[in-house]
Symmetry: D2
Subunit: 150 residues, 4 copies
């Protein structure tokens, strides 16, 4: 079993990750391609999980694959090559089988995009399962105002 690092509720709910826009992530117009943001949002979720003491690698090894079941992104201003962005992930809702994460990508004070991602847990055969105990422990400590049902 994976041992989750001790965390406090304040740490649990939100984390921002720095991302620098790569050359091949930009399109012929010089803007970051809209699919690149989807990758960056995941990087922010990965770092939030890491603060919780969990990694995709360990979860995959434990047979618990966190899968995106719903994705919604609003693109407000284009990112360009070499921009340094701050991409945040905030746990906004929890149910026994689903998490919802809200994202904001910023360049300095400017909001470039917002996103909302719903995650469930799949077995290796692609069928849904409940979240594994190491993740449940963390989610059970999430303050109530964040723990609305989806």
């Amino acid at each position: 079993m994976i041992e989750a690092a001790p965390t406090t509720a304040a740490d649990v709910l939100e984390h921002a990750t720095e991302v620098r826009v790569r050359y091949p992530e930009c399109d012929p117009m010089g803007f970051a391609h809209h699919s690149s943001y989807v990758v960056w949002l995941e990087l922010a979720r990965v770092e939030l999980l890491r603060i919780w003491g969990l990694t995709h690698r360990e979860l995959d090894a434990a047979g618990a694959h966190l899968a995106v079941v719903r994705l919604a992104v609003e693109y407000k201003r284009p990112a360009r090559y070499d921009d340094v962005l701050s991409v945040s992930a905030r746990l906004s809702r929890v149910t026994p089988a689903r998490l919802e994460i809200e994202h904001v990508a910023r360049r300095g004070a400017e909001v470039l995009c917002t996103g909302r991602v719903t995650i469930c847990c799949l077995r290796a055969d692609g069928r849904p399962q409940r979240f594994p105990p190491e993740l449940r422990v963390i989610l059970d400590n999430v303050p109530l105002e964040a723990a609305e049902g989806i």
Copy 2:
């Protein structure tokens, strides 16, 4: 000015494109990564535009960059490496400054994901503009039931 090919309303509204899942589009669980679908949906939109007689290259050259401003995807079943998918794009709404396209990705009869993408038109400096005439001509021919305001 770009010359749009003559089309009939029946052609205009929907088109499906075949996509084979590539090895680097799949993740360590063997499932296609959720960002890969975002790329495939764009491929289907590109082919719908091509049927209309337009290409991104010509539009970009004409200073009219079609940009995604909103993206929503529901993932229902995972695609795997080497699967052959049919990805459809259907023009569902039109306003003077925005298009909405509905997507479905299928493997045979199975629906793997659905998506809704809102497109606007940007100038090279990233600011919004109205759709160029060659696209307006096509959109003006879209039957009324598809041309609801967004």
Copy 3:
């Protein structure tokens, strides 16, 4: 065990695959990014394998992962968005543990790049192994002039 389709030597040695350059495969200069060609060369190898009656999926399932151990690419002319390329893969050398494939990517008669890729076979733990029997059967039928040692 995987059943290889019957092939003749003429089929075995070379195959060309059509690839259309995708928007996110191009960089802010409007040229296809040099890493995109690396993905296209693999697509051509995959189709050569398919002609041999083999797929990466089946080989992976059989515990035989074909891995690239050496890659050399010469870029001669840039590909651009929406170009349709022909990418060939030709088996050029065989040893008990390695294959060498030569690639050419063309746009019409123009050669855009050439590549040479050396493949070995890894176990799931990342250690090298001999090629599996279903691949050996095919390689043993390769005419002698192509079967020089590496």
Copy 4:
């Protein structure tokens, strides 16, 4: 004209960049896809340029596109998801129209891959040109033992 930051020869020749392997950069075997390394090598070159006081964005704006004309990579050990790698770029040769950069990607003390990349300078129309003055200034300060002709 772009102003290059003052550098000393010791700074100029080599720089290592940290890269964390992303989930979508890994394939169904759990190994980083061989095309991902090509992207990482470029990240290391970008950071070497940055130390020289130059960015791709400024060079592109000045009409000087640095393009890869030759790429050779030796893959020695596979990288896996979430590995933190150190990727170095070292200027090894200079001619009036070409640069050669040598790369090593390491995970701790282990060498995962080595690469050699030859760069030339293209105009916006895709034709070769000499390096721009802001880059020549830097290259002229490279010690002789690194400045062999290619």
